[in-house]
Symmetry: C2
Subunit: 348 residues, 2 copies
């Protein structure tokens, strides 16, 4: 048998029906390429020039309220708009376009400009969970919105233009490509096995343990067997629920707790405010039944070796196939070994 | 009917069976996020510390020959290795891995450290075309290699660790995910219409003209209707060939010419050495017939507004769907309008 830790191999991603090339031997490669500038991490609690701080004016001219917890507003530069002509364009069977509508929102996680999820009180993270849940319910109830994508881009390196703690929601008429793929894979599995793909997967991982990162009573965080980004994780509820609105009170608490634990470890990995894109995948909101859907969250962090060296998804990855160097098991081991207390608190 | 230039819409990519969300109204969004540091563009013709320059020593200890044109060698940190145990791992139907073998090579395009494709003589670019062709033939003839990916990562921003002009080849036993998808789409089209998908597509574009960038007798460059990256282009031979070895002498000349023309325009766009990942898609080399395959090249450049502002493929893009702001037609128009002479030559 070949050795996972030494030899190039391909792993299958059953959730997205894709493969990733794993080249563990390449982790020894020296890096002479671009170094990222670590984002400065000293910020005031209130920044008069920040368009997300309470009481400040945004580009649209609107003034933010003096919010004390969270604050949601319509994205001033929405990629999707609620109104517009509908219509389809088609030519020669090869050029096809369809008008798309939707709503984009921004969620400030805290009034404090200098906080992030790992540095916020767990009770405040729990309020963010509640807000995500309410937003999913509200937007999903709109008959023109069939999918709600909740996500966070954290860090300048992830295209985030403002360090004020915030996330986004893009919701729209059409189910986007990736959730649609996950929908198909989960449906096929559910029809064949009578349970969700991710329940079966979680059971395997809880037995094997090598890819587990952290757990609590209601949630598990693991590096998926098929992870693409170096320290990618999957956040899974132990119980198969289709969306946030189905979580019990205890499960919402559990989600706040596990998010806090995970992001603290991420910050501790390179002792910086750890950049990532993260987001939920949930059932479409078109009113149909989705017993096959198992709510989960993906964390996709770009850093590879240090605060300044990221994994570049370029030539081979863009043209041929997803590729990684360190294995999922090695990444999980490193994340597990990190202290549970935030490095800034340790110093104090 | 909805207006392409004003309103969010989705476009279909028939080659990869995917969609892209286009949000033209968002091009007006101000950018307050990360600025890239433009790569310094003054280099000596020979750099004693460069591991790709003629006569220099590489990390492996090997010494490069005093090459006068191009130079190919095995990648010192290959992601794929020619030998190794074969084998398959499977658990619970959800964890699947397969050992993978292959060969990775590096191609220096020129002995001159300070050149790039747009600044090289066309006769030298033609030599690069010949070398790619020979490499495809040689690697493809290996019975353990069923797919050959030729590509170039240009610029530090594209994870390229050395500015010496060079590209790479990763060749392997398995057809990677993206070419496999293109293979399926092209096969389905060919079986239904008796001609290649890209021949039919090219015909539509030559009639429409709005997405054309440059042409010569044998090749056409266009911004595909379904482009994802802001200034993405597709380089297409007018004649449907399956791989580089089938090109005539005139078509090889034409390829050298069109690559030179395209990369000059790219450099002229922001008057910098323009970063991109680019590569060929060709038929698999498993010895089967692929009449449906139409050789082509993708150019995937990351810059959006200027030399320092790139398009971030992050939260929504990584979790939900490809997304772009300026339309394919707007991008093509800008590229078409650029001077055909390199900006450095204009100044002289
Ligand atoms: O092979 P290089 O130049 O060391 O590495 C570069 O290209 C590879 C192939 O696209 C990527 O996997 C790496 O992330 C990138 O840094
Ligand atoms: O919406 P923002 O923060 O302006 O923009 C950021 O997130 C978006 C959604 O992932 C991306 O399309 C942009 O490229 C990125 O810069």
């Amino acid at each position: 048998m070949f050795d996972f830790t030494e030899q190039p191999h391909r792993r299958y991603n059953p959730l997205q029906d894709e493969w990733v090339l794993v080249s563990p031997q390449r982790a020894k490669r020296p890096w002479q390429g671009q170094q990222e500038k670590p984002q400065p991490d000293e910020r005031p609690a209130y920044d008069p020039t920040c368009y997300l701080c309470p009481g400040n004016k945004r580009t649209s001219g609107e003034v933010n309220p003096q919010y004390e917890h969270q604050f949601v507003f319509q994205n001033d530069f929405s990629a999707l708009l609620p109104d517009g002509e509908t219509g389809t364009f088609e030519e020669g069977g090869l050029l096809k376009a369809v008008a798309e509508t939707g709503r984009c929102r921004v969620i400030c996680f805290s009034p404090k400009h200098n906080l992030t999820l790992p540095e916020m009180e767990i009770s405040e993270v729990r309020r963010v969970v509640d807000l995500w849940t309410e937003q999913f319910r509200e937007l999903g109830a709109d008959p023109t919105i069939n999918y709600v994508q909740i996500f966070e881009n954290k860090g300048f390196i992830m295209g985030c233009s403002n360090p004020h703690p915030h996330g986004q929601i893009w919701s729209e008429r059409t189910v986007p490509d990736l959730p649609a793929k996950e929908s198909r894979a989960q449906k096929a599995y559910f029809e064949q096995h009578g349970r969700t793909l991710l329940s079966a997967y979680l059971e395997l991982e809880l037995k094997d343990k090598t890819r587990l990162v952290i757990e609590n009573d209601t949630w598990v965080v693991l590096v998926p067997f098929w992870a693409v980004w170096p320290f990618e994780t999957l956040v899974l509820p132990r119980r198969a629920v289709q969306d946030l609105t189905q979580l019990t009170d205890a499960e919402r608490d559990g989600l706040a707790d596990i998010l806090h634990q995970l992001t603290v470890r991420y910050d501790n990995l390179f002792e910086i405010s750890f950049p990532y894109s993260a987001g939920f995948h949930q059932r479409p909101t078109d009113g149909q039944e989705y017993p096959e859907w198992h709510l989960h969250m993906h964390f996709l962090p770009p850093l590879l070796r240090s605060a300044t060296v990221k994994k570049f998804m370029v030539g081979y990855e863009l043209l041929a196939n997803a590729q990684r160097d360190i294995t999922a098991e090695q990444a999980a081991e490193r994340l597990r070994a990190l202290p549970a207390v935030h490095y800034k608190q340790q110093e104090a």
